[in-house]
């Protein structure tokens, strides 16, 4: 489970960044995330939806302990992200649209590296690796350098890297960015599999179609603020516009 309470993240701006904000901007800081709260439950998919620059990635980075909240708290699998950050990362898997792979390593080496970093013993690693490589049909290219793999193959490696240590919480940050429909299916499938395995799954997106396909719970973020937070079924039942995209835009504009 992930519990986010009154989360705020304020960034100090450099001189150049202040200039880029425009002449009317007079402050020294910008609030990327403003007092948001939500809970993600095990066995359910939580979608974080918002336009570009809404604060989704910042929120997810705070959940993954890469950034520290300015105020508020986050609890991941019972551990505080600031006080117990190492424990959080032990129980968390994080995947971004940028696959984050080492081109000069093979999939085997890449997955082994992260398994070692997560403290997996040899036997557990082998069992997990064999299971996931078979599931995603990766044995054929397991010893080929990652730089020589297709986008779809790289995405599979990234997925295995994310879940090799069988985390309780898995975060997907815009995982289908830049992927075609066929390659995106792997992501969709893995998200469903993780949900069915009782994991807490959070994914961020700016595509309504993915939300409709996958999510059980929904939070809409715009300019760092939470515009909607609740079950997706409730969101659909309260729609005031004919399509999900229109409803999303309506909520954003009202915020």
């Amino acid at each position: 489970m992930v519990i986010v309470k009154n989360l705020t993240k304020t960034f100090k701006l450099s001189r150049q960044q202040k200039r880029e904000m425009g002449e009317g901007f007079t402050g020294n800081t910008v609030d990327a995330v403003r007092d948001i709260s939500f809970t993600c439950h095990p066995g359910r998919v939580f979608a974080l939806l918002g336009p570009n620059g809404a604060g989704k990635t910042t929120a997810l980075r705070m959940i993954a302990t890469m950034l520290k909240p300015t105020t508020g708290t986050i609890s991941v699998a019972g551990f505080d992200t600031v006080q117990q950050s190492q424990d959080v990362r032990t129980h968390l898997g994080f995947l971004t649209g940028n696959t984050g792979l080492y081109d000069r390593l093979t999939p085997n080496e890449m997955v082994k590296y992260f398994a070692d970093l997560h403290g997996l013993d040899g036997a557990t690693f082998k069992t997990q690796r064999d299971h996931l490589f078979n599931l995603l049909d990766m044995n054929e290219f397991a010893n080929r350098r990652i730089g020589k793999l297709s986008t779809g193959m790289r995405q599979k490696v990234s997925i295995v890297r994310t879940i090799i240590h069988d985390p309780d919480v898995i975060v997907f940050d815009e995982p289908t960015n830049g992927l075609d429909v066929v390659t995106s299916r792997n992501i969709v499938r893995i998200i469903r599999d993780c949900k069915e395995a009782g994991k807490t799954v959070i994914f961020s997106t700016h595509r309504m179609g993915e939300v409709n396909q996958l999510s059980d719970d929904l939070a809409i973020v715009h300019q760092g603020k939470l515009c909607y937070n609740g079950p997706f079924e409730t969101f659909k039942s309260q729609m005031q516009t004919p399509t999900l995209e229109d409803e999303f835009i309506r909520i954003i504009e009202e915020a």
């Binding site: 302990t65 968390l92 971004t96 792979l101 970093l117």
Partner: protein
Amino acid sequence: MNYIWIIFKKELKDITRDRRTIITMIIVPMLLFPILTTIATKIISSQTKKAQTKTLVVGLITYNNDTDFRNILQSREDLTIVENITEAQIDTLIQSDSLDAVIRFSENFTAQVKNLEPGDIHLHFKSSKDLNVTRNRLTELIKEYEKTLLNERFAHLNLERSVTEAIKTHRHDVASKQEQFGKTVGGIIPYIFILFCFTGCMYPAIDLGAGEKERGTLETLLTSPVRHLHIIIGKIGVIALSGLTSASIAFLGIVLAAVVHPEIATRLLNNVSETFNIAHMSFLVLALFIPIIVISLLLLPLAIFFASLLMAISIFAKSFKEAQSQMSPLTIVILLPVFIGILPGIELNVFTALIPVLNLSLATKDIISGTISPWLLVEVYSSLILISMLSLTFCVKWFEREDVIFRES
């Protein structure tokens, strides 16, 4: 500690699979000196041979002084004499390469010689071409002529040539061969070590810092349960190892160059001392074994210092290119103390032993000579360890800053 080893192993595997790293870390240092010396030797040798065997066209102005010198010049097959020129034409004729040189006697040359005074002979030449071979060839001929004049003079005065020698100096150098070698050649070695250690660290630092940021793999790494401290130490370990490897291979490259071109080694050793020769090298190889070990131990904290400094710059940069452009000017900053260390009059003392890079440069000379004070050696080592620990600590703190890690383009 285990995490550091896991990261170190992976980064080492990753970096050694990169072609650019292999080229900059191993191939360039190994081949640079042998190739440069081969090219330089071949060009110099070919140019020198060409200049030495070329038939010189030499102008001769004697102002009607009847001398044997014309006969000496005319008897030479490698010279062509041109006599119908004036003093005013000399510069133009040589500059335009119509003449290689001009030999001009003073108008009262014969009278000077008869009066037992030195006769004036003016040798006009262009120094900017042919490595001064023309000047040297003609100077030899003039010396030959001077010898005949002196023999005549002494015979006329009924004196032996040895009367011109009032003193015969016998030089005795109490410095050992090792000391002589150290004080001259020892100045070049730190230059090579330090330069290649620094450049050997540079590329891996860029790849392991800014390169990871650019490829998006840093974010992935930060989601693992490894502390930032362990990540940065693992990476710095690989970068420092790369610098040390590069320095060692550069040193081997110099040895290889000396083996391939022993004539250069001989010339260098002759510059050390007129009594030095290749036979002394076999003795020196054994005598230098321990100094090389000591220098390598000094190089270790320096490599860590370089690695930490470069990693801090790399992790701050938004991209590979930015890191590269920020690091390149540092090469001059690093070489400045090395250059100061080569200057005469700069010695290793209590104060210079505290200044990083300069202290290693000066200490290397004294270590190779076998004359270093143990207390100064301890001071140098302490200074280098201190600067390496400070830079490592700074790099670790720097890596923990969100505005540094997530500084993106």
